[in-house]
């Protein structure tokens, strides 16, 4: 947001783009850099925060920032092609301009989590808000007691950030568990749903923070299974999403109960979330 008008976006240039997944609802990742050097320097975001990105003349969408600030002076967005704005975004190639304002919302309290084991449980494009946590922990490995990632999608082609998984498995205090819904030729990881894989892995709740993002149905069963494994509400975090327009708590539409997802969220601990009446609507 610009200094005196929070609705006016900054101009950024797409440095690189690539497809994470294929199909009608393909996911494309954009690496963007602000054009104005002073914006590049003053911008700071935390894992879990979002930004309004868009194209002038088409509109804006709230998209989670899928990189950690530790990765460098750029932003990454992984965008599923869904509606008017995301279709226009998908047409952008390296060198094109993207409008960006933000960062918006609260963030994962990664600093409070220091000294703990981090477990992320993602499904589909839900891995995008989790990726900054993973990158943040990887960049600050001495501060955390380890990182485990469970990630699933319908097919291997629906998994995002595939090229980054191998690196994780090479480190002894990081581990990466992948799963897809249906058996596939050449797939040498797990087959089955994410909540079941969680039960099979049986992670200990001791000194652990778990963060889950993905389709609502997956979240529901992941939460159920986390409770079976003995996780407390305060150890569990997730993000909410609702339709948003302003990003600054004015336009009114993203509320879940008395909480504005754009300001009070998107990150909520399950302890808070279960008290919000509309959270799982």
């Amino acid at each position: 947001m610009t200094a005196n008008n929070p609705y006016v976006p900054y101009t950024a240039t797409v440095e690189d783009t690539w497809y994470e997944t294929g199909g009608d609802r393909c996911i494309k990742t954009f690496k963007v850099v602000f054009d104005d050097q002073s914006v590049r320097q003053s911008w700071s975001h935390k894992p879990g925060q979002c930004a309004m990105i868009g194209v002038l003349g088409i509109g804006e969408s709230m998209i989670s920032i899928s990189c950690s600030p530790t990765e460098g002076n750029f932003l990454r967005f992984s965008v599923m092609k869904m509606g008017k704005v995301t279709q226009a975004l998908h047409q952008l190639e390296a060198g094109d301009k993207m409008m960006v304002r933000g960062p918006y919302g609260n963030s994962f309290p990664v600093d409070e989590w220091q000294g703990k084991k981090i477990l992320t449980i993602g499904g589909g494009v839900g891995q995008a808000p989790l990726r900054p946590i993973i990158e943040y922990v990887k960049a600050n490995r001495e501060k955390y007691a380890g990182l485990t990632m469970i990630y699933g999608a319908r097919t291997s082609g629906d998994l995002c950030f595939k090229s980054e998984f191998d690196e994780m498995n090479k480190c002894e205090d990081l581990s990466c568990h992948l799963t897809i819904d249906i058996e596939e030729e050449g797939w040498d990881h797990n087959v089955g749903f994410v909540p079941q894989m969680l039960l099979d892995l049986e992670p200990s709740p001791e000194n652990t923070i778990v963060i889950t993002c993905g389709p609502p149905i997956m979240i529901r069963f992941v939460l159920e299974n986390l409770k079976k494994l003995g996780f407390e509400d305060e150890q569990i975090y997730t993000t909410l999403e609702n339709r948003m327009k302003c990003g600054i708590g004015k336009c009114g539409r993203c509320n879940a109960g008395g909480m504005y997802v754009c300001k009070d969220g998107p990150v909520f601990s399950y302890a808070v979330l279960k008290e919000i009446p509309e959270a799982f609507a």
Partner: protein
């Protein structure tokens, strides 16, 4: 604060002195009464109950350009707001609404459009002598001569107006017309008191809001929401006519190469309001939408800003095509608590 008297014969002179500022005043008659800019040389008449639509569009236009640009270009031009404005003859409830909505537009991040217009406007209120049938301002923190949000309050005393300044802006306005005014005497103060008391007594509709803010979340699954929303058409009239409803959409509009990003009033009573691109809708029926509307006004807003986001103007009751009545909804809420 000062109290002055203006003889009604001098009303056209009073208007004539307010030069250089854009004046909005009630215009039209009967059901069509609404706030409109006063043309030069025109003298608005203030004899009315309340306007059919509130003056909220003056500070928060129904559609507002946030910035203009040329398609293919990245330069954004933000409209400059610099015209000083007077809203003349707004009712105390509508002035309270402005001060209530202002809290949100000032919260955390300033909304530059609303706050600039707010800074440029002088609010000249008119106390109510004849409350409307569905007025219930006294139940929600207001009253026929409430001064909250106002810079200057006028009270109709028959052949005169009593003018009470509330803020420095009100003092400044009175200063420009001071040769038309005389000091208010004690008799006129007594007349005011009598008029205000009489008006207060005429307000027949009341709601008991005690414990409603805390209690509403407990009624989340109560059958009352089905009942009170069953006849709702989802037309959104209640929210468009509400002086405190402030929700908006942001859209890009283009015409050839000229384009603008604008915000426009939106309504939580519309299905599309919360509809996700995926097709999922967290508020799929009018039951959830009505529940949200009431909770937002009477619970969420109270939690955040310590004030009910309803001023009891009664417009949503007067003009609901299927006679949904917020006072009745609140009565049922109280009963269920």
């Amino acid at each position: 604060m000062s109290a002055m008297l203006l003889n009604k014969e001098k009303w056209p002179d009073f208007i004539g002195k307010l030069t250089g500022k854009k004046i909005w005043a009630p215009s039209g008659d009967g059901e069509e009464l609404r706030f409109a800019p006063v043309a030069e040389g025109e003298t608005p008449q203030l004899a009315f109950n309340n306007t059919r639509v509130p003056p909220k569009n003056i500070l928060f236009p129904q559609t507002e350009t946030m910035y203009r640009f040329q398609l293919g270009d990245l330069e954004m031009e933000i409209p400059q707001l610099d015209k000083e404005t007077i809203i003349l003859g707004l009712r105390p409830c509508d002035a309270r609404a402005i001060s209530i909505v202002e809290k949100l537009f000032r919260w955390d991040v300033d909304d530059p459009y609303y706050l600039k217009r707010r800074e440029l406007v002088t609010l000249v209120g008119l106390a109510c002598n004849e409350p409307g049938l569905n007025c219930f301002c006294t139940s929600v923190g207001g009253g026929p001569a409430s001064t909250e949000g106002l810079d200057l309050l006028m009270v109709d005393l028959g052949d005169k107006y009593l003018l009470e300044t509330i803020t420095p802006k009100g003092d400044a306005l009175v200063d420009t017309v001071k040769e038309l005014l005389e000091e208010a005497d004690e008799a006129s103060q007594k007349l005011k008191e009598a008029a205000v008391n009489e008006a207060g007594e005429k307000i027949s509709r009341t709601v008991d809001t005690e414990n409603v803010a805390q209690g509403l979340p407990e009624l989340w699954e109560d059958p009352l929401w089905q009942k009170v929303s069953a006849s709702c058409l989802g037309c959104g009239t209640c929210t468009y006519l509400c002086p405190t409803c402030h929700c908006f959409d942001i859209q890009d509009e283009t015409e050839a190469f000229e384009a603008r990003r604008c915000r426009m009033w939106d309504s939580c009573m519309f299905e599309e309001y919360t509809l996700h691109t995926s097709g999922h809708n967290p508020r799929p029926t009018r039951r959830e939408r009505t529940r949200n509307r009431i909770n937002h006004k009477y619970s969420y807003y109270v939690d955040k800003f310590d004030v009910i986001a309803c001023v009891g103007c009664g417009r949503c009751i007067n003009l609901c095509p299927v006679n949904i009545d917020i006072v009745e909804i609140l009565r049922q809420v109280k009963e269920a608590l």
